[in-house]
């Protein structure tokens, strides 16, 4: 086992200190959302950042996770933890089935195909009355306990679980980075033809990345359902969610293990602050500021925030 590096120690310390410094329920909520989107962005990064397949359809896997565990809980009384595993398996299967025909598509064709798949799933779920249709599903309220995956007195347990989700996604990423599959994926991203010519099974590795990415995303979907206790097609399947997941990773710097955490650390507070400060007008002032900042960041720093760090490091004198 390699010793945990400095980033991991700093991360654990920051996550432990955060709820001590910001104790209000609203601040804990922001912390939960940062960790949730960091986990989602990290999961996306496995496919989008390392394998170079830009997906704008990850809400499909999130929705599969949320709906699978919720339906199993409501209909069969199955523990959400088991439902979570079922959702992850289903999402991985969906990723493989969708990946086989779509991974042949180049660049923008693939990105648009993922948008379209997401919209189809969104429409189907909204019109499927067997699982709530447009009215959505309320989760049954159970007593607070870890087994029930419900906590009504404090948000701190959710914060802890969200941290666990992020740690899981990060651990998966670091493992992929260090193993053969990580090198293969990056080789495939940089030059698929050359990779194939030296015997890398391009489709097989992309499918593996997609399945892992989808399973992690579905686990986050179950978490969302248990956290909010209500799901509908517009909250867990919309294109805007898919885009937010992708933007979190892209903003932080796609293909970097810690990039999505940076992206979530900027995007989530930004959207929460603008929503709280300006959202009350009901006129979309929050969207104006949010959109303007995204444009400004991409114009000023096309490589993402992590690239900004690289640029600073280059400018500083290097230690001998």
């Amino acid at each position: 086992m390699p010793r945990p590096g400095l980033p991991v120690i700093a991360l654990v310390a920051a996550a432990l200190v955060y709820p001590l410094v910001f104790g209000s329920p609203a601040a804990i909520n922001v912390g939960v959302l940062i960790l949730l989107f960091a986990a989602l962005g990290t999961a996306w990064n496995l496919l989008g950042g390392y394998a170079g397949q830009i997906s704008f359809g990850h809400a499909v896997f999130f929705g599969i996770g949320a709906y699978t565990s919720t339906v199993l809980l409501k209909e069969a009384g199955l523990s959400p933890w088991l439902g979570m595993l079922a959702g992850a398996a289903l999402a991985a299967l969906a990723a493989v089935l969708l990946g086989v025909p779509t991974f042949r598509l180049a660049g923008h064709y693939f990105a648009i195909a993922t948008i379209v798949i997401g919209e189809i799933a969104h429409t189907v779920v909204r019109n499927l009355d067997a699982i709530g249709g447009a009215r959505g599903l309320f989760l049954p309220i159970l007593p607070t306990s870890l087994v029930n995956y419900q906590f009504h007195n404090s948000r701190l347990p959710y914060y802890g679980i969200a941290f666990g989700l992020y740690a899981l996604a990060l651990a998966a990423t670091l493992m992929v980075e260090r193993r053969r599959i990580g090198y293969y994926l990056r080789a495939i991203r940089e030059d698929p033809t050359a990779s194939r010519s030296v015997g890398v099974s391009v489709l097989q590795y992309k499918l593996a990345a997609a399945a892992l990415s989808a399973a992690l995303t579905a686990i986050c979907g179950t978490f969302y359902a248990q956290y909010v206790l209500f799901i509908d097609s517009d909250s867990v399947f919309p294109l805007s969610l898919s885009i937010l997941i992708a933007l979190t990773a892209i903003l932080g710097g796609a293909g970097r293990a810690y990039g999505p955490l940076l992206g979530a650390g900027v995007l989530v507070p930004l959207s929460e602050i603008t929503r709280i400060a300006f959202g009350g007008t009901g006129r979309g002032a929050d969207l104006v500021i949010y959109g303007a900042l995204i444009v400004l960041i991409s114009v000023a720093q096309p490589g993402g925030i992590a690239a900004l760090g690289d640029a600073l490091r280059r400018r500083l004198p290097q230690p001998a």
Partner: protein, 286 residues
């Protein structure tokens, strides 16, 4: 049988406008390899321009059309200079990020300035309907479709028959070869944005004759434009025209056969099926 003819006819009418808006998107993509994810929101802006020309200046949307085209063309150049040119040195991801952000910004601005209310242009020159055999066509829809056909024809003429159009196509074909031939490709990029956004403006001005106008109106039309472009083959204006009409017809027929809630779903499925068989789209280069 009559209802089928009726459905196909209205599908074609909508498809022609879809085709025009998609032609603008595909032109920009073909020339400079950038997908404008704010495309639908450009359309929304054009529709508002048309609405306010009618509400404030009392201009009929048909008379306002050249002004809306010019305004959107200018807006396209501003976006190119202000947002797109700076991100050209970044990765594809940065470009996607920038145009998605721009879309959110435009939608937010529209909601803030115009509110979320639905608006509709009232008494226009084009009202009523007429019959062709058993098929009844709305005059506004027909005029809008004819307008789209005319503008598309002008676009073809521009690309095919003029020096500037040849330079645009040369830039799309091979950027460095075009530069060696003395073509200022940066100016061609700006021109592609002007013409591309102008096409969207024309589609918007025509759609505004009969379609309600609200900040999110671009969402569905934008997505349909992406599907149209990818189905036709990126960069192929002819492919976009063909795919636009096809999608118009498929959505209306699907609305007749299935639950109307699924009418776009069927068009999206068609797109996926075509892509699996022909990954480069109907008329795209492999």
């Amino acid at each position: 049988m009559e209802i089928v003819a009726q459905t196909v006819a209205s599908g074609v009418l909508l498809g022609l406008i879809l085709a025009l808006s998609a032609a603008g998107l595909t032109l920009i993509w073909g020339v400079m390899d950038i997908v404008n994810f704010a495309h639908g929101d450009f359309l929304m802006l054009g529709m508002y321009a048309s609405f306010f020309a009618w509400a404030v200046l009392g201009l009929d949307p048909l008379l306002a059309l050249p002004g809306v085209v010019a305004a959107l063309g200018l807006f396209g150049v501003v976006v190119y200079l202000g947002v797109i040119r700076p991100v050209l040195r970044g990765s594809v991801l940065a470009q996607i990020f920038a145009t998605f952000g721009l879309g959110i910004l435009l939608r937010g601005v529209a909601q803030f300035v115009f509110t979320a209310d639905y608006r509709q242009i009232g008494d226009t020159m084009a009202t009523g309907s007429f019959a062709v055999g058993p098929v009844h066509l709305g005059l506004p829809q027909t005029i809008a479709a004819l307008g789209a056909l005319i503008v598309s024809g002008l676009l073809f003429a521009l690309l095919d028959r003029t020096t500037v159009g040849t330079a645009l196509r040369a830039t799309a074909e091979d950027r460095s070869a075009a530069e060696l031939m003395g073509i200022d490709t940066r100016r061609m990029f700006a021109l592609a944005w002007a013409v591309g956004a102008g096409c969207v403006g024309a589609a918007a001005g025509l759609l505004a004759i009969y379609f309600p106008i609200f900040p999110d109106v671009g969402a569905v039309f934008g997505l349909l434009a992406f599907v149209t472009v990818a189905l036709g083959g990126f960069g192929s204006v002819g492919g976009a025209m063909l795919a636009g009409v096809l999608i118009g017809v498929v959505t209306s027929v699907a609305g007749l056969i299935f639950d109307p809630a699924y009418k776009f779903t069927v068009a999206y499925l068609l797109y996926l099926v075509v892509l699996v068989i022909r990954p480069q789209g109907l008329l795209g280069r492999a």
